[in-house]
């Protein structure tokens, strides 16, 4: 029965072809450093799921942001777990994406024909850092507030356009409800959308071009 259903679906959706193309690819003999991309992808998925769950209770307003986070941590069943995973997953993701980049660099995997994979990867790293920066403000505690004050002050020191950039980041000249709202929006809509597009491209290229082998001594 299950086999019949699968055959019916496969005939129409081409599931086996997807499986063969995506998972049964030919890969050179590689080592554990080559698992960092998958690890980053897994962490991203984890962040998406826990992040969606957090929006059930989190409120991006100065009146309620801190209290709603306290509510998640103290009152909601397993709230501490969901937020804990999101919190630590964020840190891990930055680390994993960064080491993934180092691996690609040191193994010279960015060269022809994989330049675009590399470039999308660079933007993925920047987007990941952007997620960390925007997410850091959301708990609206002292650390979040002052970290973002400093973090938005830094581009403000750039000559000529610095102050304008700072005003764009803050949505005004000082940190306010507007800052919190736009950081939240960027954190849950803009950056995830960009990251999904970039990951799509990145993985399409990985499948299309295959992964590069570990460089040999004579290379």
């Amino acid at each position: 029965m299950a086999e019949k259903v699968f055959t019916w679906l496969d005939e129409r959706l081409g599931l086996k072809t997807i499986y063969n193309t995506v998972l049964d690819r030919n890969v050179p003999k590689v080592n554990w450093w080559y698992t960092l991309g998958s690890a980053s992808l897994f962490l991203f998925a984890l962040q998406v799921v826990t992040g969606i769950f957090l929006t059930v209770y989190y409120v991006p307003s100065p009146d309620h942001a801190y209290d709603s986070v306290q509510y998640i941590m103290n009152d909601v069943t397993f709230g501490w777990l969901i937020r804990g995973i999101h919190h630590w997953g964020a840190t891990l993701m930055v680390i994993f994406v960064f080491i993934h980049m180092l691996r690609t660099f040191y193994f010279a995997a960015y060269k022809y024909p994989r330049e675009i994979t590399w470039i999308t990867g660079v933007f993925l790293l920047l987007a990941t850092l952007g997620m960390g920066f925007t997410g850091y403000l959301l708990p609206w505690n002292q650390r979040a507030y002052w970290a973002t004050t400093v973090g938005t002050e830094i581009p403000g020191t750039a000559p000529f356009i610095g102050e304008f950039i700072m005003r764009i980041l803050r949505g005004g000249s000082e940190l306010s409800a507007v800052t919190l709202a736009r950081f939240f929006s960027v954190h849950i809509w803009f950056l995830p959308a960009i990251i999904l597009l970039l990951i799509g491209t990145h993985m399409y290229l990985v499948i299309r071009l295959g992964i590069s082998a570990v460089p040999r001594k004579e290379d």
Binding site: Y57, Q70, T77
Partner: protein, 161 residues
């Protein structure tokens, strides 16, 4: 090679995968479901004895309004609701406490001493001193609360409804 009742390697792997998969699935599903259902599981008790102060504060035969607030906490927000009850001392020993909420559409009724009746300003509902409907659209008498007197202090059992 393989004896009839022996577990095949493939089947063993299948069983192990199924068991591990179920354990991991449960480990993910239980927190997820608990997280989403959490506020629905918290039952707020909205019943309590509320003090109305010393019994002698209330004159006999004249319904007197007592206003109070109840704070409810929903998630990260506190809501303070105002309520009013009419305290009526029938004589030295019998006292009644009525909600001032009209049973028609929840407007607040007011005691009119000259007419000796409660009047609802919204649709002219009229109740007598015992909370019974005398006129107008209200479908039921005013809600009456249980009372008690302890050491000269009057209490009533507030049930939100």
């Amino acid at each position: 090679m393989s004896e009839p009742n022996k577990l095949e390697r493939r089947d063993f792997v299948k069983v192990v995968l199924a068991v591990l998969g179920s354990v991991m699935g449960a480990a993910i599903a239980i927190p997820a479901v608990g997280y989403l259902l959490s506020p629905a599981m918290a039952v707020q008790k909205k019943e309590s004895w509320i003090s109305l102060g010393p019994l002698e504060n209330y004159p006999i035969g004249v319904p007197t309004l007592f206003s109070f607030t109840q704070t409810t906490v929903n998630g990260w927000e506190k809501t303070v609701n105002s309520y009013g009850v009419y305290v009526t001392r029938v004589d030295e020993t019998i006292q009644k406490v009525f909600s001032n909420m009209c049973t028609h559409l929840s407007c607040r009724v007011t005691w009119k001493e000259d007419a000796r009746e409660y009047i609802c300003p919204c649709h002219d509902g009229i109740f007598n001193i015992d909370g019974q409907v005398m006129d107008g659209p209200p479908p039921a008498p005013l809600q009456e609360y249980q009372t008690k007197v302890e050491e000269g202090v009057l209490y009533f059992y507030f049930v939100e409804g």
